[in-house]
Point group: C2
Chain length 318, copies 2
């Protein structure tokens, strides 16, 4: 079976690991958000691609929840001493090895999708990673006074505490899906939407011209997993992103935001947490098949079970 997943970073990484463990003989392709990417002191950082790569490689730091396990920060200490970079954004040494490699290959003219294929070939990940686009589409956040901050600055430095007026995916209108993205959507037997940030992760992927239409035309069912459990974001500060676009922080509201595929939206089905089971009738009424299961991905086992639940819902959808 061919499974294609739209994914952001950390939450998506856990979901993909669960999916790989649950469906080891299936062909899994992740279409990954690159809106958080940026150039920093000449290095191209791709947080979502790297979170997924490290997690699937078993090289991620489970304790901390991001980055490489056994990481050190000696290079960043030097950058700080020289006064370059963002003092509030610390890159690990092993992680910098990835960034130097990626930046070097990009400068040699290798597109990000090919760079990603090369980087990920180091480990047997069990999932093919494709950036949603090879173009540099970076999410910026418009705050009071009209200033636009890079999403990383708003998220990491300000911890999403500055009210966001709008999210701007710079250059998105001129971007194109990376090679393989449209094929992965068209050829899929199941399309899953990972429990990632609906605005800046999944939303950015959907904003790339051509992807929404491919999803609408896909023969596979599209099944999403709610990133909201019992009225709060599972990871981080997604509520600050949702409120900026006028969407309530609830499993139901996010599903309505994505929309029912039968009404021109994204979803055939939507998986919510047990605590949000009350939303099931409303979801069904909105034309979205739904089920309520435990959504917390506490460890590989619960993540694999969630993936199985998503696949099961997909089998009944459409």
């Amino acid at each position: 079976m061919k499974i294609t997943v739209l994914s952001g970073g950390v939450g998506g990484a856990r979901f993909l690991r669960g999916l790989r463990d649950a469906a080891p003989s299936d062909s899994i392709t992740a279409v990954v958000n690159t809106g958080d990417d940026m150039w920093l002191t000449g290095l191209r950082i791709a947080p979502d691609l790297d979170s997924i790569m490290y997690t699937l490689a078993g090289e991620n730091d489970e304790q901390r929840g991001w980055g490489r396990v056994g990481e050190t920060e000696r290079v960043s200490g030097e950058l700080r001493a020289y006064g370059v970079g963002w003092p509030w954004f610390t890159l690990g040494d092993l992680d910098i090895g990835t960034h130097i490699t990626r930046s070097h290959l990009l400068r040699e003219g290798v597109p990000l999708s090919a760079v990603t294929a090369r980087l990920t070939s180091r480990w047997p990940l069990g999932v093919s990673l494709i950036p949603a686009t090879d173009d540099e589409v970076e999410t910026h956040v418009e705050v009071e006074g009209g200033e636009q901050l890079h999403f990383q600055e708003w998220w990491t430095r300000h911890r999403a505490a500055l009210p966001a007026l709008a999210f701007v995916q710079r250059n998105v209108e001129r971007s194109r899906p990376a090679p393989g993205v449209l094929e992965a959507v068209a050829d899929a037997d199941v399309i899953l939407v990972a429990p990632s940030n609906p605005v800046v992760s999944v939303g950015t992927i959907l904003g790339i011209p051509g992807i929404r239409a491919a999803l609408a035309a896909a023969s596979a069912p599209v099944v999403g997993v709610s990133p909201i459990i019992d009225g709060s974001a599972v990871r981080g500060m997604a509520d600050a992103c949702l409120s900026a676009i006028g969407v309530e922080t609830s499993a139901l509201a996010v599903a309505r935001h994505y929309g029912a595929r039968s009404s021109g939206g994204l979803l055939d089905a939507w998986l919510v947490d047990e605590t949000d089971a009350a939303a099931l009738p409303e979801l069904t009424a909105a034309g979205i098949a739904a089920n309520a299961v435990p959504l917390w991905m506490r460890d590989p086992a619960t993540s694999a079970q969630l993936a199985r639940d998503a696949l099961e819902l997909a089998a009944t959808a459409r």
Copy 2:
């Protein structure tokens, strides 16, 4: 007093540290070779500038003889795992912090001399470092079959064992001295030539259009310190460089190669090791004032004494 020193890397670094310790109230400027510089995986490496900076900052690894003290190589391990860079050329993590900073500033359009001023401002070095040129003049080595290797590859990978047919300073004819170089030569009270490689360190500096003429016109005496002691190079494999240009590995032959200033050459005076005292009459006959003293820079104290001996010889020259 204003002292200007033409310098290569490790040997020059020790000499400069000795000079700073011997003449702490003098204004010391080092004009530094950049022919060993290169781009590697998108990072601009400047071995001589960094050797000097680290040594004067007290951050160098005395044991190993190069690089930063307490260095680790985690980033290089990653680059190797991803299959980029030169597997035989390992950069330390702290050192990579310097390279990322330099490369980032260069890409922002800051010339190398200004980048160097910014990097060195981190520590009270007691010496102003100026790259000989802001232009990318990289030394290549022509070997059998006509192939040209970057100097670093010939030196580090092949340990200078491939017979060198010629040294080519690429782009040198179009290069210009960095801002401050000609002034440092013209305004100096004493000009010293560090015991650095006469071919690829000092030779590269002298090859930059305008520098030789400035030295010839300078009012200060030019005093060199022999990098050859008793028929062998003090550091590394300089003999392989000398033989490629048909110069014997001896203190006398190197002085003759530089030439007496009175005959259109570089030197007013030449400091040789005690073991090479037999060369003194021939040096004098060639129009080069000379003295024989202990040249080995075993530690800061012997380096400072050598610097004092060079300054003393300068006081008697011209």
